[in-house]
Structures are given as C-alpha cells and as structure tokens.
Amino acid sequence: DAEESEFEAIIAADKKIEPRDAMPEAYRKTLIRQMAQHAHSEIIGMQPEGNWISRAPSLSRKAILLAKVQDEAGHGLYLYAAAETLGVDRDELYEQLLNGRQKYSSIFNYPTLTWADVGAIGWLVDGAAIVNQVPLCRCSYGPYARAMIRVCKEESFHQRQGFQSLYVLARGTAAQREMAQDAVNRWWYPSLAMFGPPDADSTHSQQSMEWKIKRYSNDELRQRFVDMTVQQAGVLGLELPDPELRWNAERGHYDYTQPDYDELMRVVKGDGPCNRQRMANRTAAVRDGEWVRKAAAAYARKQQEVAA
C-alpha cells in the first residue's frame, strides 16, 4: 500500500523515519526492543562501575567515575525518551526489564573485582559499545540516530578516560600493573561477546540490515573492535589474553580466538555471575522508591487542585 511504499522509499533514500511517519509494525517493535535493551543496559551498567565510587583511590578518579556513572543514567534517559516516541512509556519498559521480558547487555553481569576493572570497562566495554553504536548514528529511525550521536560523543570520552586510567596503572607499581593486566584478562572475551553471536547464528540481523537499523554484521563489528584494540593494547603495554592473536596480512585484519558463546548464552539466559544481584538491586530501588513517587504525584495533584 501507499504507506508501506513511502516507508520503503525513505529507507531506500537513506533518509530518516520520524515518529509521525507510517512504519511497519515489525519495524516499530524491533526498534522498541532494541532501544529498550540499550536503555536498560545503561541503567544496569551503572551498577558494576558504581560499585567502585565509594572506594576510588583518589578524589579525581572518584569525580571522573561519579560523572561517568551519571552520564550512563543520562544515556538511559535519552534512550527511553527516544523509545517513547514510538508510543510506549518508560514505566512499561521498566516493567519489562524487571519481569525479565526485556534484556540488557550481558557484559554487566560480570563483577567488578578490582579498581582496574573500572579502567578495563571504560577501555574495552565502552570501546566495544562505540564500535557497535557509531553505525547507529546513521540508523534509519531519526530519534534513535540523534540519541546515539549524543551517546557516542560521551562514550568516546569515557573510553579515553578508561584507557588513561589503565595507562597510569600499567606504568605504576608492580601490584597496579598486575591489577591492570588481570582486569584486561577478565574483560577481553566478555567484551568480544558484546557483539552478539556469530553471524551464522544471529537472528534478527538480516531484517535489521534491510531496515538500515543495523549497518554491519556482528562479526564485522567484532573484527573492527579487535583491530582497533590490538593497537591500543600496544600503547598501554598490556597483553590481550589470546595466544592466537596475530596479524593476517592476507585478510588485512587480526586473527583472534572467538569468545565462548555457550557462556554468553548462559549469561543471556540469566545465569551469569551477577544477573540475580543486578536485578535484585534494580528491583529494590524501584520498590524502595515507590513511596517517593507516590508523594510526588500526590503533591502535584494537590497543586493542580489549588490552581484549578
């Protein structure tokens, strides 16, 4: 029909779909799912790094970390707002996070065991997120693309901060260097797994590519991340924990060992080290805040009554 062809014309012309435009229900649903998952990841992602705010080893690092975690809340806000342009509301999305029907990035189900993990998350996890997200700045859905532009700008700031923090550790005392290397050892494969299953096993991907929500396949993005990160590891003077990692001149890329996708599936299904803890904390925050939300609503009602 006319609506459908108009939608397809916009996509074909690499223009943006806006909230007022007609769009296929499947497109809308795919976007809601993806944006919600992305927003939830920002919110849950506050926990592993938030774990070190009270214990940061210097006041300047404490300030940087606190600001970063605050930015993640801000990203969550942009993304929920972008999702809301598709006619869902934030409370509905929260509800789906809490009842487990919507997911968040599995990476946040690993614990932050030492201070160096904060640096490793900034460098590797934010690094992987950027590789994933930069193409989303050209996503066909306008509000999502615009939200991603803001998010990516801040993420790359965070990634540099993470890198810089590890850089200092790698040049610090023996214990600091060991801490940095250990963190990289633990976060490397989970970061590779952030790009999702290998293309051969990836559901959703093909349709998302056609809709120009997704621009590159999981494996292409993973390769891009590996190539970029190997260089940076050299600058840091830290090893990536993969003995198979080497330059393949023929491919023009680094060869590398795939992450353990069975582990990824276990974590996605809820059985990672921290899934239960992350959800319990989120649920507690929602529950403990209920009286405040009620109070704010009651006060607003009273004010309206006075005004009326």
Partner: protein, 233 residues
C-alpha cells in the same frame, strides 16, 4: 581557629557529604533524581577537592587533597556530625541536604567576600552550586512534607532526628540566618519545627570527636588508597 582549620573543616563537611550522597547512585526512585543527586554529589566533591587542596597550601606541609582525604584517621577529620550519619531513606537525605545547603550558602556567601582570594574564588563558584542544591532540597522537602501521609511522616522523622545535629552545623552565631532560611520551607512543607532549645545537641566533629559511623565510611573510602602506599592513580 586558624584558616587551615576553617578550610579543612569546611572541606571535610562537603567531602563526607559527597561520599554519603554518592551512595544513592543507581538507587534513587527515578532516573531524573538519580542524576540530580549524583550531580549534587559531584558539586560537593568538587568543592571538597578545591578546599582540601587550599587547606594543604595553607598548612604548608606538602599534603595534597588525596593525602588529606585518604591518609587521615577519623580523629583527624573535622566535619560536623550531621554529614557522617548513615544515609537513611530519601527523606533523610533531602532534609539533610536542606539543612546543610542552607548553612553552606551562608558560609560560601561570606567567604566569597573574604580577603583570601583563592578561597573567595572557590566560594564564589560554590555559592551558585549551593543555591541550586538548596532549591532542590527545599522543593523536595515541600513535596514530601505535603505529599502523602507516609511521606509526611518520613519527612517529619527526618527533621526530628537530624535537628539536634544542626546546632553544631550552624553554631550560635549562624543560627538565626539559618533558621530564616529553613523554617519557611518546613512551614510550607507542613512540617513541625522541633524544639528550638533541646538538651541533646551532639557535637565535637570540629575537634575530631565523631560518631561511630565515620570510621566505617572512612574504612571503605580509604582502603584501596591505603593498600597501595605511595602509588599514583
């Protein structure tokens, strides 16, 4: 009190307040408030860093902000007790922020006009931040006090429990200005102002005589720093 003591005490007030407030990160009742509380914690932390750095200069013994924050025992901290009390619920946090910001606003305003140019510059920046904190706390105090029955009860308890600690916070000379700022908010919030002259007036923070809560806060805050003596971060 020497200038060093004054600046150190103020720096410790905002450092410990920031540490407590940051405990809310990822725990607030909604995202907007999570961001607001982190933001206030960041402002306070920024003030603390500037004040402790300046205190270190005044002292002239080579201590920087981190030496002062991470390498003093709790008997050497000079903050008022109010800021070290356990975080409590959101009402406790908001009422504490109201009490603290009302006092900080007065102090920063005065210091911004003082002779110590560095301190005046720190205070001039801080006074603007504090005006926002005070407003945020006042708005929430009113919302909670005049919200539901439960929120009113929680806000009243937060006021009652923390009121005794405000005598140390304001001192005799700062009391009236502080009351002029706080009491109208409590009135608007339909909250009862507690006994203006109670027997229980805990204090001693400026002499390093704290509650039992500070030691735990410092253990958590300082452990990593102290575990790596001399390291750079």
């Amino acid at each position: 009190m020497s200038d060093f003591d004054t600046v150190l005490g103020l720096g410790d007030d905002v450092l410990i307040a920031a540490q407590r407030l940051a405990e809310w990160t990822s725990r607030a009742h909604d995202l907007e408030e999570d961001i607001a509380l982190s933001n206030i914690a960041l402002d306070l932390l920024g003030q603390a860093r500037a004040l402790l750095t300046h205190a270190g200069h005044l002292e002239g013994a080579g201590r920087d902000e981190d030496a002062l924050a991470f390498l003093r025992d709790d008997r050497q901290f000079r903050n008022v007790l109010l800021v070290e009390l356990p975080r409590g619920d959101f009402a406790t946090t908001i009422v504490r922020l109201l009490f603290l910001s009302a006092r900080l606003w007065e102090r920063y305003t005065r210091l911004s006009q003082g002779e110590d140019a560095t301190l005046a510059a720190i205070a001039a920046k801080a006074v603007k931040e504090t005006a926002y904190h005070l407003d945020h706390a006042a708005q929430w105090t009113i919302r909670l006090g005049d919200g539901t029955e439960e929120s009113h009860a929680r806000a009243q308890r937060a006021v009652d429990e923390q009121w005794p600690y405000t005598f140390e916070l304001t001192g005799e000379s700062g009391r009236q200005a502080w009351l002029d700022r706080v009491v109208p908010v409590l009135d608007k919030a339909t909250l009862t102002r507690p006994d203006p002259d109670p027997a229980f007036r805990p204090g001693g923070g400026r002499d390093g005589l704290h509650s039992e809560h500070l030691g735990y806060l410092l253990a958590e805050m300082q452990h990593l720093h102290r575990s790596h003596p001399g390291a750079t971060w």
